[in-house]
């Protein structure tokens, strides 16, 4: 009887030990996936280093803030401010063509993106990406703050004023407070199976800018949706087209079904724009 009991115990111990081995294998697999990703990132960065100097000199010819300001002023003037379903404007041909192409070229490889709420994202400017990507997006982030924001605030003066009055102060007080703004940016990557969600901007992130980063091979499918309880508007995924809307909660990216071709990718950059801390503090007093 003792021998049989000991046999049964041995079998149980074997099972436990097998489970532990299985668990250790899973952990090892996870670690290897992470090492593999990091190695891929290192290779991409090293490869990016090789032609970084030439690329940077090339970008100097393209990333011209004054040219952008003139171009954008015309583009914003052409765009209508539409009130429904939420105040928004669709600005076509938003960047000079060569600048848009530089932006597309500067989208870092997907290995640099991190998952967040069913999407992949990368802050703007990215901190880990090839040099020309960081420099290009650094320029665009500065351009949004210095060029885009003043024009958009002027264009959306009425809805901003309405919103402000509901809070207490007026736009005049905003201007008197110095009216300094910040723009928090990210590049979003969507793939098959990703489900669109309404924007989650905070109450002080008044305006949202979504610039579709459509590449030549991308179709107009899986763009954006503007939605309120009363109305909705579908927007195609269009190259060099920016959607500017009042607040982000009415915006969502259209879901890409899991059955879509595996290679389907949709890149867009999104900026949430609102008053900086100092302006907020003054407005709240």
């Amino acid at each position: 009887m003792n021998r049989l009991t000991s046999l049964a115990d041995s079998r149980d111990r074997l099972r436990r030990e097998l489970r532990e081995v299985h668990h250790a294998l899973q952990e090892l697999a996870k670690q290897l996936v992470s090492v593999e990703l990091q190695t891929q990132q290192l290779i991409a960065l090293r490869m990016g280093d090789r032609d970084a100097a030439d690329r940077m000199d090339g970008l100097e010819q393209v990333l011209d803030l004054n040219h952008l300001a003139t171009h954008l002023r015309d583009a914003v003037r052409r765009a209508d401010l539409i009130e429904a379903p939420v105040p928004h404007a669709l600005i076509t041909d938003v960047l000079p063509l060569d600048m848009y192409e530089a932006a597309i070229d500067a989208i870092p490889s997907r290995i640099f993106f991190t998952p967040r709420d069913g999407e992949q994202e990368l802050p703007v400017p990215p901190t880990l990406a090839p040099l020309h990507s960081i420099a290009t997006w650094m320029f665009l982030a500065d351009a949004v703050k210095q060029v885009f924001v003043p024009m958009f605030i002027e264009r959306f003066e009425e809805p901003v004023d309405r919103h402000l009055r509901a809070l207490g102060p007026s736009i005049q007080e905003l201007n008197e407070a110095g009216g300094r703004f910040v723009a928090r940016g990210r590049i979003v990557l969507r793939q098959p199976g990703d489900v669109g969600r309404p924007g989650d901007g905070g109450p002080w992130e008044w305006l949202t800018l979504v610039l579709d980063l459509a590449r030549a091979e991308d179709s107009e499918e899986f763009g954006s949706m503007l939605r309120t309880s009363a109305a909705a508007r579908a927007l195609p995924f269009c190259a060099n087209t920016a959607l500017v809307l009042f607040h982000s909660s009415a915006h969502e990216f259209v879901s890409i079904p899991a059955t879509a071709p595996v290679a389907t990718e949709r890149y867009a950059c999104e900026f949430r724009i609102g008053p900086d801390k100092k302006t907020r503090r003054i407005l709240q007093q």
């Binding site: 049989l4 049964a8 079998r11 074997l14 960065l45 940077m56 100097e60 040099l131």
Partner: protein, 463 residues
């Protein structure tokens, strides 16, 4: 899966008891063989698990190493992207412009000199007293002390940063802006030039002030010498005697001190101080600490540390004489064993010796007290402040009067008060020296001053 229950084992035993001895022996042998093979399997599994743990540890090491490499890349890429940024480089100084193609700008290296500086403050505070009868001054004083109390208890500054550039032409324009034009390195261009921050972003009138020179400028040279001990320093003209003697004191050879009018200079390698690490309105404490270490190594320790020094402002310009009865104040100090000295009467070497030998250093807040930089730790510093001195600070713009609006001041921590009437108190604490402070009217009330001084002396004796 569960193992066999008691019922199953009992049934097996029943069956076994019904078996012949031969069958029992055979079954027993089979069970033994099974047990042995199970043991062997378990041993193998244990080995496998051990190997897996070792592999996992290796993988974790690899993960950590690649992560470290990525962090190095992240820092390096961030720096290079800021230097090569379009339309122009993003620097930590608004008074500095980097010109040249992005490909040249991305070769610039930022070097950090020294360590971040952090010291506790209040543990160095001695006797603090206000004997001013002016209500506005008392209110300002209370506000200043409240501001200080609410600003945390740590004195901070950052390491200096120096931009290291191969092949550049440096010039200073009429507005004082430093322009660095990067060029591909040409053969035959040699020479390393260093431009400290005060050479391009410091008012000329402050350069003539010994206190500003000693506390703001010389530490910058010390920080730059640490990375370029043989560089030629481009220094704002004219260089006066005290400029040259203090620079010699920190190890600069005469050939390294070049008067510079801002005209373009081509260098094989150029080092430009981008920041001296000061925070808020404070002094560059990290660089000052480095300067004190350097001076302490050169001077050694003092054998006679009993002197009591009162630094007179008799040598100050009339508009900066903050007291109307300084002779009477000096008499109070003299009666308590203090030597009354005007620093203008002493060479730099003598000043260094006087302050190194002093146990107590006293004086009205001003350039003369800057020499406490030469005093060792645990020296007692007595700072006198007057009504007009407080009003002067309160009327200034920027950091000097930040404490008048407490909300502004406390946001920057103690560094925001680093250029307030309390700056010598902060400086003394940063040097590990005890600091005592007395505020009186422009006609300093002598009885309260005497009482204050006696209290200070009791503390000194007690220590």
């Amino acid at each position: 899966m569960k193992g066999p229950g008691k019922g199953v084992i009992a049934a097996l035993l029943n069956r076994l008891s019904a078996m012949s001895p031969w069958a029992i022996r055979r079954n027993t042998q089979a069970v033994e063989r099974l047990n042995a093979s199970t043991m062997a399997l378990r041993t193998e599994l244990r080995d496998m698990r051990e190997r897996l743990h070792q592999l996992s540890a290796h993988a974790a090491d690899s993960q950590r190493h690649t992560q470290q490499l990525l962090e190095i890349y992240r820092r390096d890429l961030g720096e290079r992207a800021r230097f090569a940024a379009l339309p122009h480089a993003k620097l930590r100084s608004d008074a500095l412009v980097l010109q040249g193609r992005p490909a040249l700008r991305m070769r610039v290296e930022r070097r950090s000199v020294g360590q971040p500086f952090e010291r506790p403050f209040s543990s160095w505070l001695g006797v603090t007293r206000c004997a001013s009868s002016a209500p506005d001054i008392r209110a300002l004083w209370e506000r200043l002390l409240a501001c200080e109390a609410g600003s945390g208890d740590v004195l901070r500054s950052l390491p200096s940063t120096v931009l290291d550039m191969p092949g550049a032409v440096v010039s200073r324009d009429a507005t004082g802006m430093l322009r660095v034009s990067l060029r591909p390195q040409r053969e035959g261009t040699t020479g390393m030039c260093a431009v400290p921050r005060f050479a391009y972003t410091f008012p000329a009138r402050k350069l003539r002030n010994f206190g500003h020179w000693l506390l703001d400028c010389v530490p910058q040279v010390v920080a730059m010498s640490a990375v370029a001990p043989d560089a030629v320093f481009l220094l704002p003209a004219p260089l006066r005697g005290f400029h040259r003697s203090t620079l010699s004191l920190v190890g600069l050879a005469p050939r390294q001190m070049v008067e510079w009018d801002g005209a373009p200079v081509e260098c094989g390698q150029l080092l430009v101080q981008e920041s001296d690490g000061r925070m808020g309105g404070g002094r560059p404490l990290a660089a000052l600490a480095e300067m004190r270490r350097l001076l302490a190594r050169q001077e050694g320790t003092s054998n006679s540390r009993g002197r009591r020094i009162y630094v007179s402002r008799r040598d100050a310009r009339n508009k900066r004489r903050w007291l109307s009865n300084e002779p009477a104040v000096e008499a109070v100090f003299r009666s308590r064993g203090f030597e009354i000295l005007a620093m203008a009467d002493h060479s730099l070497e003598e000043q260094v010796r006087i302050f190194r030998d002093a146990r107590i250093v006293a004086g009205i807040s001003g350039a003369g007290l800057a020499d406490i930089v030469f005093s060792p730790p645990a020296t007692h510093v007595v700072v006198l402040l007057s009504d007009s001195l407080i009003r002067w600070y309160a009327d200034q713009v920027g950091q000097r009067s930040a404490w008048v609006e407490p909300e502004k001041a406390t946001r920057g921590g103690l560094a925001a008060l680093g250029d307030s009437p309390r700056f010598y108190v902060h400086l003394a604490a940063a040097f590990d020296q005890y600091c005592h402070c007395f505020l009186g009217g422009d006609e300093m009330p002598l009885d309260p001053l005497s009482g204050f001084l006696d209290d200070v002396l009791r503390q000194v004796d007690h220590a």
